[in-house]
Amino acid sequence: MCLAIPARIEELTTPGNAIVNLGGVRKEISLALVDDATVGDYVIVHVGYALQKLDEEEALRTLAMFAEMGQIDELRRELDAQ
């Protein structure tokens, strides 16, 4: 739950803080809850804190999953039924 958005770390500021960028909007947030986050990483931001780093490879994999057609499963089912 909870409103959180993925934003790109643009700049590390005071220890533990960073400026993130989402669609041109920049905001300073806290990195207190994540380790090893650096400039260029995408993080999930909730109430001014980064909660987790976004795994970009997994993001692409998920997008590819959305594009999958369902025929493969259907074919399999038809084959099983025979």
């Binding site: 959180a4 809850l33 804190y49 987790q52 998920t62």
Partner: protein, 371 residues
């Protein structure tokens, strides 16, 4: 916006919808609960119900911390602000929640109480630092997503020796709430759960495994965007068809089995379980909420100030308890849309824009009066 827009693509949505329509067995009904208020909001806001076949229905769960916050807890905050002159800091979500005596935090503010809306617990700490002569109390609500930010603030306050900062701790736990929904006599007619997105980034997918194992209900953790929700629904349909009950993760880009261990450790360092906590709509649920550990007692507003929790029962006509469990729909409540509206919310489901009733009222009620 990268990693946001792509997950809202209309063409891909149609593709997933086609898959769901193809794979959902027309001879049975699928009753799926999305636990999290953010998902309720996504479903309503994008009209996802229109993309699902009629026999796949989404039931709105209680995963909105504002909706399940008992009136008595809001009363505590209001009393502190009005009677003890504290600066009451809160997330904006709570300011309109109706409390006792026709008050809300917003109305208390209008009558002179110092109520301030903040975006982050860091802002609350700043208010405390900037106002050394005043007591600052933060109304700490939220599920496991929102708890770590409070933990960070408490540890920072302790390290700085901030004497004028404390919290009203109303943090609640997701798995306990899911148990409360499922542990109903006679069982509950739900085929599966769409698991919370951001709670899961913190707690991981592990805590949901008992639901699959013990209750035989599949759980698919879904990301926050409409395509995530659609895909998760598809994955649930597949599990139901196959007679499986497992925890699957659609939100792999942000959720792992273990979750964010650093955040979990921080929370464990600062908080401990309350024996029991009252949830609006669900009644008293054991081990479902947190309080500060003894070493942080100086930051516990309930100990620092004389402000006991007094339970306030809901309106007798309110059907939230049944609606939160998916046993009734908003439109089946006698006072839905008449006495109880977003402007004048009577029960928890109408209080926040993601409560089942508010979402239905704001986004979906046209379906009833279809033209």
């Amino acid at each position: 916006m990268k990693y946001v827009d792509e997950f809202r693509d209309g063409e891909l949505a149609k593709n997933i919808a086609a898959n769901i329509a193809r794979e959902a067995d027309p001879k049975r009904h699928y009753r799926l609960m999305e636990f999290c208020g953010g998902h309720t909001h996504a479903i309503s806001r994008y009209g996802l119900a229109d993309l699902l076949p009629a026999h796949v229905r989404m039931i709105h769960g209680p995963g909105c911390p504002v909706c399940v916050l008992p009136i008595g807890r809001v009363d505590q905050a209001i009393r502190l602000a009005r009677e003890q002159g504290v600066i009451l800091c809160t997330y904006a979500d709570t300011v309109r929640v109706p409390a006792s005596d026709n008050l809300s935090l917003m109305r208390a503010k209008a009558s002179g109480a110092d109520v301030r809306m903040i975006y982050s617990t860091q802002d609350a700490l700043k208010v405390a630092r900037d106002n050394p002569g005043r007591e600052v109390v933060f109304l700490a609500i939220g599920f496991e997503t929102t708890t770590p930010p409070t933990a960070v603030a408490i540890q920072q306050a302790a390290a700085e020796g901030l004497k004028n900062f404390s919290i009203l701790c109303d943090h609640v736990l997701t798995p306990a709430a899911m148990h409360a929904i499922l542990a109903v006599e006679g069982g509950v007619a739900l085929d599966g759960f769409v698991g919370p997105a951001h709670v899961s980034t913190v707690i991981g997918s592990k805590p949901y495994e008992p639901f699959a194992d013990d209750y035989g209900k599949p759980v698919v953790i879904a990301g926050f965007e409409p395509l995530d929700v659609m895909q998760a629904i598809l994955m649930l349909v597949r599990q139901v068809n196959d007679g499986r009950a497992a925890v699957e993760n659609e939100f792999t880009r942000a959720v792992t089995r273990e979750g964010n261990l650093k955040a979990q450790q921080l929370v464990a360092d600062v908080f401990e379980l309350r024996d029991v906590f009252e949830w609006r709509g669900l009644g008293s649920v054991p081990h479902s909420a947190l309080k500060l550990r003894p070493q942080y007692a100086a930051f516990d507003a309930e100990l620092k100030f004389k402000v006991d929790y007094v339970a306030v029962p809901d309106n007798k006509a309110c059907e939230c308890a049944a609606i939160l469990r998916g046993q009734k729909r908003p439109q089946e409540c006698k006072i839905f849309g008449t006495v109880c509206t977003p402007e004048n919310p009577v029960g928890s489901c109408m209080v926040s824009s993601e409560g089942a009733c508010a979402a239905h009222y704001s986004y979906g009620r046209f379906r009833e009066s279809a033209t």
